[in-house]
Amino acid sequence: MRALGRAVLGLLGWTGAVALLAGRCGARLGGLNGAELVRSLVSFGARSLGLAAGAGALIGATVVLQAGVYANQFGARLYTGWAAGYALLWEFGPLLLGLLMAARIGARNAAELALLTIHGQLEGLRGISLDPYRLLIAPRVVAGVLSVLALSQATFLVAVGFEALAALAMLGLPLRVFLGAFAEMLHLGDVIAGLTKSLAFGLAIALVSTVAGLRVEGGARGVGRAAASAVLVSCATIFGLDFLLTPLLAKVLS
């Protein structure tokens, strides 16, 4: 029972910290430090491209495998394209990429901020009347969100490509048929749903990892723990957001 209580308190603590951070970053969106923004975009986004592409390939192929099996049950192989696309856009693309990015971007961001904190560099900035939020923290958050959003799209494209290939190779489904069913049965609403989720997940990862990094308790162990808790809380948040957003988006977009 006590563990549950502690979990709830922890949750409240995190929510508060995240909200505070969001507010602080939001207030400074106007005057962000461009250099740091670009640097972070490269570090978080460009460098994660390979991972995202690889993930896209795997996700695409796996979704098709399972969707194919499923569609087979109903004797509807032709609809594999739709089933696969739907599942991908709505759910697996954003979710799986979210989890991976929580690892790559979240852990990295938390670790870097943790290091800056324990080496006193953030305090130092304040000491010379520079605003660490404007210079370092907020740009990283924005870069994180943008990176996740952009990477989701890249992953989606790669995934679709691999889905088509997998359908051809493993289920004997001609490319034209697959892509045709895909294009025909998916609507703009589906794409928007996926995008919205990616945006939400990206925001969660960026904010949570920043809070985790800034909360660091010193030493090499502290940095490790900060990165680890960034990943943990990001994942939990992603699943929670997924749960909240999916029915909401379903209602709004259909």
Binding site: L115, G219, A220, G224, G240
Partner: protein, 235 residues
Amino acid sequence: MLLGRLAQALRWERPSWKAVLQQVVELGLGSLGLVATGMAFFGMVIVTIAWAQARKYTGNITVVGPAYLELIIREFAPLLSGLLAASRQAAAQSAELGAMAVNEQVEALELSAADPLVELVAPRFFASLVALPALTIVGAMTSVAAASATVSLAFGADGASFANTRFVGPMDVACAGVKAVLMGAYIPLAAAYRGLGARGGAAAVGEAVTDGVVEACFGCLSIDFMVAAAFLPFT
């Protein structure tokens, strides 16, 4: 790679069973919360998706229920439980081992006539082999329960359809089992490899955690795909 050296090291020395047990508890309980809640959320989400799909295609969600159960057991539970556990486990283990490596504790072990592979990696490895399949089962049960509940409560349809094992065969369970065991083997090895390889200072620990989790997660995705493909002829 690492597995080979681990196997070799184990030929000569055995890890203490107490240490393994300790790790099983830590791994199992540590990831339990995340897996259970995550999978519960997922169960509810998948119902929403099934509902939308069913409406467009068959018009009746109870028809797709059993098929979804099969999917959950065969695919979603192993993959998502695996990813969730991978994230938490790999992060925690890379952080711990990384900090030890950077603080010279691993070297101190080597010069205390102890083998880091046996002392540190082996208990976590065996524990993970046991804990991950257990977590997968919990994940599957939680998501099915959540799914059934959601169908009944939110959509007013027959929730039991999601628990109907009509389409679930031994091959599905085997597929899930193989995935869980392989992931259970891979995750601690990836985490340990990155953790023990950390050199430098606190920065190295951060990198070790990032790389460890990414590799563990990506490994789970790969294992999921390969096993699914391998089992394809058996559907």
